[in-house]
Amino acid sequence: MTDDQKSLVENMINSDRVFLMMKGTPEMPRCGFSARVVQTLNTLGATYGSFNIFDDYNTMNMIKEHSNWPTTPQLFVDGTLIGGCDIIDELAASGELEKILTPAKKE
């Protein structure tokens, strides 16, 4: 992966504090797993940016390489991969996801 590709990916996943790479859009997910993560985020009232892999497979492949994660969806918070669908389900069930999504309060 070139430096240019790396910064392209990093700019993208940092474009919103919470960022989802998915199949389809939050309004119209095109895969059951992406739909599940969207539903979880919406239930928690999260605001997030998203990238539809069907718009650009090259970028998808770069994100996958950067994350060392072979599948879609991928959820990033503060530019760090939090998980795919299974981990998000698990973190949502334990209540941990809500904590991760809540920005640290300023003292």
Binding site: P70, T71, I82, G83, G84, D86, I87, L91
Partner: protein, 79 residues
């Protein structure tokens, strides 16, 4: 399926491994390859976060993912 289970057993010696074919739950969405679900309880997951644990499983099935496996649902448990 047998070969996939064998690979997992090789990658995670001593682990309790459950592997299910859940393809029938995903009919009508025209993907090649199986939908599988695996639960792995392994002492080698100790000290690793969820991302790293799942990456270990993905790596074990690297050559199958995207080929005979279309989707793999993973649950890891620290033994």
């Amino acid at each position: 399926m047998d070969q996939i289970l064998r690979k997992l057993k090789q990658a995670f010696p001593g682990a309790d491994i459950e592997l299910k074919n859940t393809s029938s739950m995903h009919v009508g969405h025209n993907a090649k390859g199986m939908h599988l679900k695996t639960t792995i309880c392994y002492n080698g997951f100790k000290g690793k976060n969820l991302i790293e644990q799942h990456q270990m499983v993905q790596k074990a099935l690297e050559s199958e993912l995207g080929n005979e496996i279309h989707a793999l649902s993973i649950k890891t448990i620290i033994m």
